[in-house]
């Protein structure tokens, strides 16, 4: 019988980060991934590393993550393409700007200062190409973007170097308690371990169901488009609130356009079907916001399969039914930035039974 200290289900950024941090603590985890690490959301997302506009419950994790992003090369031995030019949330109307102001003030009262209100002039300075109708916005200056696949792979590689084992092309099919251990059934035979981490992304409800712990996870597939290389014209990541848009130019000149419009998906077949009517909406938004982009060509579009929770925030913490099992899923289309910090927090929780990073309100028991 194969054994490990911890079995991690899922080789996305979260599983790989947790594997690395467990290994750094001297534990021997085995990570099991049904396809290959980074095949899903973690490898194909927009790469946005943002603290901006996060739910209050996530902010501590997000700040902890940011600290790790800023020394990512030291942590994983690869700069992961991380560049920090800030994220700007653009207001399109005065009403919108007023609501942003209220949010920034509320955050300050709670002691969070990473979001900063900016006026029209500062917006134009940060994003010269933005259309003239925008009266201001919010910036989070330490935010940035990274290469998602490279990042996930870097975590995977470093985890292996530090003693984790990664099994790819292997599916977890069952979980049962055998004495003090969990017996993890896989397509490559069983593995026993005292602890299990469920980082199975859009499939994590199935792992939870094996524990008699149903969760209202919905499978979504946000879409992205990327343009051909265009001359450098914008540094920060730009997002909108009213209309769905996220917008970013990569170092190589290509521009990634996203924002949350959804494809239809079939998680059993790893399949997504793009919705061009919705992508056209994104295209029209970009058309209006960035006139300079009108002649750019869209060279590729895709979607990634991702877990969405009804309240839009992840499920993090111990199982409510099964001792020794921990959940780390449901990142609801913004979990890439959270990967490094959540993995560190989870390793601490698994290894020591508690954590210094507050995760209040993220537990699975909220869906009871």
């Amino acid at each position: 019988m194969r054994t490990a200290d911890v079995v991690i289900v899922g080789g996305g950024i979260h599983g790989c980060s947790t594997a690395l941090h467990l290994a750094l603590r001297g534990l021997r985890p085995i990570l099991i991934e049904k396809d290959y690490a980074g095949r899903h959301a973690s490898g194909v997302n927009a790469g946005g590393v943002r603290q901006l506009a996060r739910d209050l419950h996530e902010i501590p994790l997000s700040i902890a993550s940011m600290g790790l992003w800023e020394r990512i090369e030291e942590l994983v031995g690869d700069d992961c393409g991380f560049e920090s030019h800030g994220t700007v949330l653009v207001a399109e109307t005065e009403t919108e700007l007023a609501s942003f102001r209220a949010r920034v003030e509320d955050l300050r009262l709670r002691g969070f200062t990473h979001e900063e209100l900016i006026d029209r002039a500062e917006l134009k300075r940060l994003v010269p190409a933005v259309a003239d109708h925008c009266p201001g916005g919010v910036v989070s200056r330490r935010d940035g973007a990274a290469d998602p696949f490279r990042t996930t792979q870097a975590f995977r590689r470093r985890a292996i170097e530090k003693g984790a084992e990664v099994l790819e092309g292997v599916t977890v099919t069952g979980l049962s308690k055998v004495g003090a251990n969990w017996r993890v059934e896989t397509s490559a035979g069983p593995i026993e371990a005292p602890k299990v981490v469920n980082a199975a992304g859009a499939w994590a409800d199935r792992i939870a169901a094996m524990l008699g712990e149903p969760v209202p996870l919905t499978v979504v597939a946000p879409m992205l488009m990327v343009t051909s290389r265009v001359p450098a014209f914008i540094e920060p990541v730009v997002i909108l609130r009213g209309r769905k848009l996220s917008f970013k130019q990569l170092g190589n000149g290509t521009v990634v356009i996203g924002g949350g419009h959804l494809a239809t998906s079939n998680r059993d077949r790893n399949e997504t079907v793009l919705d061009w009517d919705k992508l056209a909406i994104s295209a029209r938004t970009v058309w209006e916001l960035f006139p300079a982009m009108r002649a750019a060509t869209i060279v590729r579009a895709w979607a990634g399969i991702e877990a969405f929770m009804p309240d839009g925030i992840p499920v993090i913490g111990p199982s409510s039914t099964s001792e020794g099992v921990f959940h780390q899923f449901g990142f609801s289309t913004h979990g890439f930035q959270l990967g490094p910090g959540t993995g560190a927090m989870m390793a601490e929780l698994v290894a020591t039974g508690s954590t210094n990073t507050p995760i209040d309100g993220l537990g699975i028991e909220r869906f009871r």
Binding site: S228, R229, V230, P231, G253, A292, M293, A295, A296, T297
Partner: protein
Amino acid sequence: MFKRLAEAGASVAITVDGKQVAARAGDTVAAALIAAGIAHCRTTPVSGAPRAPYCLMGVCFECLVTIDGVGSRQGCLVPVRDGMAVETQTGKREAGR
């Protein structure tokens, strides 16, 4: 590199980088460039290497040029029209500005 058979069609006036080029009816933009002996139509956004049309059937994307202000069009799929303004994408990135 290429010459025209005598039978080629009526002449069509286009400009390439502002200079007059005599194309013929039935030419695509890429064919007109080749016929005019224009050695390359773009440089790559990666290394700046010169490139010229390669497949003439719409699959290689080496023939990307700016046509009437719209950048990165496949010259081998666009028929010439009188008065058409073609710009080679030399030293330019692909958005055409």
